[in-house]
């Protein structure tokens, strides 16, 4: 630590900090316009100049290292004169837009000019008058307000790793523009808007809607992905108008992605449910709550009486709060008496948990958003974490900038591959083979601590299976060279600190339980702590709902059940472990199989399986065959359209509760706006339904639920109990003459699940599913960029628009499953092995 004096106050700071950083961390304010702690000091605005004793010139405090014994003065007449001069310069050509500029009231330039007195306006010059650039959908760039502080340029290129904005021109005529002055093409995260100190970059969706001081700001947790970012919502007259990040706020430290920043308006979409609906014939007819709840309770009672409680299933929601999910499983287990409860986490976080239990003997797998920092080696396998968990992705990029080696194994170009130290361009779906290959190399070369590792259960099984995964065979499977494989293996094995990360979820089709087990095997082989394997829970409350017991094999608090109910696979895809895979239609007609399926009723809360679950046409058929389908959601989803009863729920912004993010940190979700129509928070609906069924859940209000949850026995942290669970590289579907292309389903940055597709603002950037195909394949099949194509798989046919791009490899096409109208999920299959699906398709011009 070093000591210095600022304005007479003695302060301490770490060596290597600048004067500005030392001052700010000690509560001393030095005005600045171009400083941001996330990027390298720039020194352009010159507002932060200070006097240093013994130095003739004024120095920029943001760009001068604090020295031991330094005496700094931040507010002398000389400094004030300099600041005033610099502000005077900025105002000479800055347009007097304050009355029509959305930034007024929270504009840094305005604040500084106000504080340092009115400059005497002695230069009367023509103001800059470039018209506002409104070409981009979300960000409005008004160049004449720009003071060229460079924060947007630097945040975008240094911090976000995108570089969509740059300086063009020199000297007085310099402007900040996207490349070649064309429409901005970027990630649409909006970080540049939050960082701009003037009204040069504005949120277009907010334009002219509210003055900043008329917005009431409230913090809540973002409802999209598992990062659990704190988002500050701006509310006016009960309506949410904007979302922003505040410096240092939350697990995201003030950073937000496009979804968090622009996607909140999904709660205002036209198909919000405002009243309960009951099916009468072919139509869903509005009804009263009384009618709807009575209808449900009557039908449920009948089904329980005729077929028993285990004929009823339930699907919980990663968008609902912990309290609601807890109450849901309590309703299903205690009131209905069924253990058939699961969620979309069955495709994602549930698999990670399972692998955790199998490989390390632990439960409650959590990540640490800050874990990439300081790691020697970070290995990312077949995952685009910058898209699925943007803030986690940012921390990975930050670690790389600070010296970590980032090895990314992926089949296509992504932001992570672009910034990687090494991109291992493996074929899609071959992650398991790669991991096995790495383990084989490590074993052969003795790059592990064999004293302890040999003792781990299953080691000899692992050795046996790995015999097939020689570098040559793995090279053949994955497509990377033998030398490359060996280099990666050695680097990973020899690292002092390491991290292995990947994403799993319902919206991806090339990874499953096998992948997580293979990754866990590798961690066990090198004797690394289980923390080194970081698989983030997919959605806002995927971790939370699992902890609350939305799973067939355990109750709240990871308490393993005595009776294991049916999970998603059994409920929706086949009739039971002894029954054949439903796709094997030779074994009988669909009707027979449906009869065999024991489910008669399904209660779906906050999930849209008809759109987002794989092999969705089969699911639709399955749902239609039920005697009772109850859907409780905020909007009339495709799944809801199939229901017998639709119950309107309140959105995330309309209720209080908690979400638990992928780090296992429980954070408060706050009610910021009033309930829509006749909707109720999910927990209230459950309470009322329970009463309609004549049962008391034993809770009156939210407080009671919280109390019950808090009184759950604490989760014991068991010692790590390692075992190897060797897996083989296998796939369920392959290409052939009729289906010559592999199809990979991956997320888009602008969306998470299907909920975000109801946001108008996000829809301005991305409103339709596109199939990405490379130039050679496009030529082969006669596809041109932006044309309509017909995509057929063994499960179904779908029509989409094509994007021809060189970011994807030969023989593979990429599609997202977010969009209800696209029907992409009808193309995918559900693998019996819980391994990878590897769907195959053919593509023709339509």
């Amino acid at each position: 630590m070093i000591e210095l004096t600022i304005n007479g106050k003695e302060i301490k700071t770490e060596k290597g900090k600048t004067i500005l950083q030392a001052a700010l961390s000690n509560g001393i304010k030095i005005p600045n316009l171009c400083y941001d702690k996330r990027v390298v000091p720039f020194g352009a605005c010159r507002v932060c100049v200070v006097e240093i004793e013994g130095q003739r010139k004024l120095e920029a405090s943001c760009a001068t290292l604090a020295g031991d014994g330094m005496v700094v003065l931040t507010d002398t007449p000389k400094v004030r004169k300099a600041r005033q001069a610099v502000l005077e310069f900025m105002l000479v050509h800055h347009p007097l837009d304050c009355p029509v500029c959305d930034k007024a009231g929270e504009c840094d330039l305005q604040e500084l000019v106000y504080e340092y007195g009115k400059p005497n306006g002695r230069f009367v010059k023509e103001k800059k008058h470039s018209p506002p650039d409104t070409k981009g959908p979300l960000v409005e760039l008004t160049a004449n307000r720009c003071i060229l502080c460079g924060k947007c340029v630097r945040i975008c290129s240094e911090f976000q790793g995108r570089g969509a904005l740059g300086f063009i021109g020199r000297g007085f005529s310099t402007v900040v523009q996207p490349a070649f002055g064309e429409a901005i093409e970027c990630d649409y995260c909006g970080q540049c808007i939050d960082v701009c100190p003037t009204g040069a970059l504005l949120n277009k969706s907010l334009k002219y809607k509210a003055r900043p001081w008329t917005l009431e700001e409230k913090d809540t947790i973002c409802p999209f992905c598992g990062c659990g970012c704190t988002v500050t919502l701006g509310v006016k007259d009960g309506k949410i108008l904007r979302a922003r990040g505040r410096e240092d706020n939350g697990r995201n430290e003030g950073n937000l992605c496009g979804r968090g920043r622009f996607g909140f308006d999904y709660i205002y979409s036209e198909n919000r449910l405002t009243s309960p609906l009951i099916r009468k014939g072919d139509e869903l007819v509005p009804s009263s709550w009384e009618e709807a709840l009575n209808y449900i309770s009557d039908r449920l009672r009948n089904i329980i009486d005729s077929h028993g409680p285990s004929s009823i299933g339930a699907i919980g929601s990663p968008r609902c709060t912990n309290e609601e999910n807890y109450l849901f499983q309590k309703f299903i287990r205690d009131v209905i008496g069924s253990d058939n409860i699961d969620s979309s986490a069955a495709f994602g976080y549930g698999l990670a948990e399972k692998a955790w239990e199998m490989s390390f003997g632990q439960s409650g797998h959590r990540i640490d958003l800050k874990s990439p920092a300081g790691k020697d080696v970070i290995l990312v396998v077949e995952s685009d974490l910058s898209v699925t968990h943007p803030v986690f992705g940012l921390n990975i990029l930050k670690a790389k900038r600070n010296g970590s080696q980032l090895i990314v194994a992926d089949s296509r170009e992504t932001k992570l591959t672009r910034h990687s130290s090494h991109w291992a361009n493996i074929k899609q779906g071959t992650g398991v083979a790669l991991l096995n290959g790495i383990m084989k190399v490590i074993m052969e070369r003795g790059l592990f601590d064999d004293k302890n590792t040999l003792k781990i259960k299953g080691f000899s099984d692992l050795e046996e299976i790995l015999k097939d995964y020689t570098p040559e065979r793995v090279s053949e499977i994955t497509g990377i060279g033998v030398d490359e494989l060996v280099a990666i293996s050695e680097t990973f094995a020899k690292a002092k600190t390491r991290m292995l990360t990947l994403s799993v979820g319902v919206s991806e089709n090339t990874k499953g339980l096998d992948m997580v087990l293979a990754a866990a095997n590798l961690i066990n082989l090198v004797g690394e702590s289980p923390d080194a394997l970081q698989i983030p829970a997919e959605y806002a409350n995927s971790f939370g709902l699992y902890q609350m017991g939305i799973r067939p094999d355990a109750g709240p608090g990871y308490k393993i059940s005595d009776n294991t109910g049916k999970g998603i696979s059994d409920m929706l895809y086949w009739a039971g472990p002894n029954m054949p895979d439903i796709r094997d239609a030779d074994n009988g007609s669909w009707e027979e199989l449906d009869k065999l399926m024991a489910l008669k009723a399904l209660y779906i809360m906050g999930t849209d399986p008809a759109v987002t679950f794989p092999d969705s046409s089969n699911i639709t058929r399955r749902l239609k065959s039920l005697d009772l389908l109850i859907v409780q959601d905020i909007a009339l989803t495709d799944t809801a359209k199939l229901a017998h009863v639709v119950l309107p729920a309140s959105s995330w912004a309309e209720k209080d509760g908690t979400y638990t993010n992928a780090e296992g940190i429980t954070q408060k979700v706050c009610k910021v706006t009033e309930l829509t129509g006749q909707s109720f928070p999910d927990w209230q609906i459950l309470k009322n339904l329970s009463l309609a069924m004549g049962k008391d859940l034993g809770i009156e209000d939210m407080g009671d639920i919280v109390e019950e949850i808090n009184s759950l026995p604490p989760v014991h942290i068991l010692p790590v109990n390692r075992s190897f669970n060797p897996v083989n590289y296998a796939w369920s579907e392959g290409t052939d003459v009729s289906y010559p292309l592999n199809m990979v389903v991956r997320d888009l940055l602008q969306h998470a699940g299907s909920m975000s597709t109801r946001s108008k603002t996000l829809g301005l950037v991305s409103s339709e599913a596109r199939i990405e195909i490379n130039e050679r394949d496009a030529e082969r099949f006669g596809i041109s960029d932006n044309s309509h194509v017909r995509i057929t798989s063994r499960q179904g046919t779908v029509y989409l628009k094509a994007t021809v791009t060189d970011k994807v490899p030969d023989g593979t096409v990429y599609v997202p499953s977010h969009f209800p109208h696209s029907g992409v999920s009808t193309l995918t299959c559900h693998s019996a092995r819980k391994g990878i699906s590897m769907d195959a398709v053919r593509v023709e011009a339509a």
Partner: protein
């Protein structure tokens, strides 16, 4: 030795060469004579130039047509060819030997010691002149600390303009531990009219290379870059050829002289930005980024190119190194003063007779450079007003102070800087306000735009000077200029902004009356600012020779032969051609108001002009 520097090449060296060689062949002496293209000789005003050896006869103003005569006289008949010799400008006496010509006689060549006497495209020539001996000594007989010490002790200061002690920079470069270190040579030379570095790179590229390798040894760096502005294609070609020769000869690459020391060198071309002459901006440019300076969070010797320790020096600085290492620090210190040791190369230009490249010890007085070497004023009857030093970052020193030596301290004390060596001599036909405006126009255009004060401030200063020169100056403008200057200097990020106001401050210091005349009286007494002058023929002095009317481009002068002429103000474009032409001093430069004034008023103003000029001369003497 025929000068192959860019200046002479532009004046037709290659045609002269062809003619010369053809003539030699024709006369049958092709085998006994050889025409070698050397680097820039320095005597650029008289190019193409040539020295004939072994006798050392110097010829200037060569043309292809003169070659037959020259060959016949000098080479066949043994009679040096008077017609093309240097003629001392007053008495027109021909001086045949290069060592007797004042321009060359008074110079002491260190950096330029090989100019005009070697073929820069032959490594052997350089070696013959003790080339690469210093490298051998540094590599075999000296430790890195010892090399740093000899450079420190020599007192060599950075010749790019900042004058930072070179030894101190190398010491820091050696001290920092790193796996990768760099040596960078700044060959961007952006000052308008400066060509010292260009001449060194064209005439003696190996001197720069040797200096850089020695720096690599001293600081334990193994990779060097020479950043040359793209506008110097000949320098780039010569340097690249020299580098290729070095690789072939094992002077660059791995295991130089079997010592185990590796050094690689590469040229990187600039892309047309003055600001890339600033060290940190230069490094960003090499990194492929936008050329903007970086705030000095760390010195470049600690974190420079790609955030690795980098020692950056100017071309001239490196060119000094081999001789310092070979001859010792004492030898270098014997030239110059204690604080300004050694010699400095100047690009001597402006209103003097002998324009060109000059190298003198740093304690040489300005007067000697301008009069003895420069040969005094070129325009008959004109006096020297001031000398502008240091380009757009520098200032003017009036004639009264010409006895000061051209050391860093003395020049700075008097309001200018030595800078990179640009020296422009201004005579009394120069408008100092216009000079300041010229430099501000340059700086404002070249500002990178990153920091607020330079980006906007220099433009405001230029606009204000432009307004003053156009007649829109008002009370308070001088104070505004001074205030702007102070603000820009105290808050700018890099040297460009910090020194941009210097030309204004220095001209205000010594020539404030010119500013006041421009602002208050709307009068540019030198007739340069067209909106602030009126040209008037004093009929009592006019001889009616008609020379002015013939020079006038816009038919604005009327008059009969041998009768007093008259200027028609409506046609006059104030180009000053008439005034430049008149041998009888009959044309007066009057204020703007004279254009609309009546005859008697004009006559009174004309008379007053003489008085005012006399007044100012007295004031000059008094200073």
């Amino acid at each position: 030795m025929l000068c192959g520097g860019t200046g002479c090449m532009a004046s037709g060296t290659m045609k002269v060469k062809a003619a010369l060689e053809e003539e030699f062949k024709k006369k049958g002496i092709g085998e006994e004579t050889k025409v070698i293209l050397s680097g820039c000789n320095g005597f650029c005003a008289k190019g193409p130039v040539m020295s004939v050896y072994p006798d050392g006869t110097f010829y200037q103003d060569l043309t292809p047509e003169e070659m037959p005569g020259l060959v016949e006289e000098h080479f066949l008949k043994g009679r040096p060819y008077q017609k093309l010799m240097f003629k001392e400008h007053e008495k027109k006496v021909a001086i045949p030997s290069i060592n007797d010509i004042p321009f060359f006689k008074h110079q002491i060549l260190v950096v330029l010691k090989n100019k005009g006497i070697i073929d820069p495209e032959r490594l052997e020539d350089y070696i013959t002149m003790d080339g690469y001996k210093a490298l051998a000594k540094a590599l075999m007989q000296m430790k890195p600390e010892e090399i740093v010490k000899v450079v420190s002790d020599s007192g060599l200061r950075g010749r790019g303009g900042a004058g930072f002690p070179t030894g101190k920079k190398w010491e820091l470069g050696l001290k920092i531990k790193s796996d990768l270190k760099y040596v960078v040579c700044n060959g961007d030379e952006g000052d308008p009219g400066a060509f010292m570095d260009r001449s060194v790179m064209e005439a003696d590229p190996h001197a720069v290379i040797e200096g850089m390798i020695i720096c690599g040894i001293a600081t334990q760096a193994h990779k060097g870059y020479i950043y040359v502005r793209a506008e110097y294609p000949l320098a780039i070609r010569r340097l690249q050829k020299a580098i290729d020769q070095c690789y072939e000869a094992g002077l660059l690459g791995s295991n130089i002289f079997n010592s185990g020391f590796d050094f690689d060198l590469e040229i990187y071309q600039g892309a047309g930005a003055f600001v890339c002459g600033e060290a940190t901006a230069l490094m960003r440019s090499i990194e492929g980024k936008r050329g903007m300076p970086r705030p000095k969070l760390w010195r470049s010797a600690v974190k420079g190119l790609w955030d690795k320790p980098t020692v950056l020096n100017n071309v001239e600085t490196f060119a000094n190194i081999p001789q310092i290492v070979l001859n010792g620090s004492g030898w270098y210190r014997s030239l110059g003063t204690e604080k300004s040791a050694g010699t400095k190369v100047f690009a001597l230009t402006g209103a003097i007779n002998n324009v060109g490249l000059v190298e003198v010890p740093m304690d040489t007085p300005l007067r000697k450079i301008i009069y003895d070497i420069g040969g005094g004023m070129i325009k008959k009857g004109r006096k020297c007003k001031a000398v502008q030093l240091g380009g757009p970052s520098g200032g003017c020193i009036p004639e009264a102070y010409f006895d000061i030596p051209v050391t860093y301290e003395a020049i700075e004390q008097n309001g200018a800087i030595v800078g990179s060596g640009g020296m422009v001599v201004l005579d009394d036909t120069t408008c100092m306000v216009n000079t300041a405006k010229f430099f501000l126009e340059f700086t404002a255009d070249e500002s990178c735009g990153k920091c607020v004060p330079c980006r906007i401030g220099t433009k405001l200063m230029y606009d204000l000077l432009n307004d003053i020169c156009k007649g829109k100056g008002k009370e308070g403008d001088i104070e505004t200029l001074e205030d702007l200057s102070e603000n820009i200097i105290s808050t700018s990020l890099c040297g460009l902004g910090q020194s941009a106001p210097n030309p204004v401050l220095s001209t205000l210091r010594y020539f404030k009356d010119e500013y006041e005349m421009h602002i208050k009286e709307k009068w540019c007494a030198t007739g340069v600012c067209r909106d602030l002058c009126t040209f008037y023929i004093d009929e009592s002095l006019c001889k009616g020779c008609g020379a002015c009317a013939r020079a006038c481009p816009s038919k604005a002068i009327a008059g009969e032969k041998k009768k007093p002429h008259k200027i028609l103000q409506d046609n006059c474009v104030q180009c000053r051609s008439c005034w430049d032409t008149c041998k009888f001093n009959s044309i007066k430069i009057l204020p703007l108001s004279a254009r609309k004034a009546c005859e008697s008023e004009i006559a009174a103003m004309a008379a007053a002009v003489e008085e005012r000029i006399a007044e100012r001369e007295l004031a000059e003497v008094a200073r």
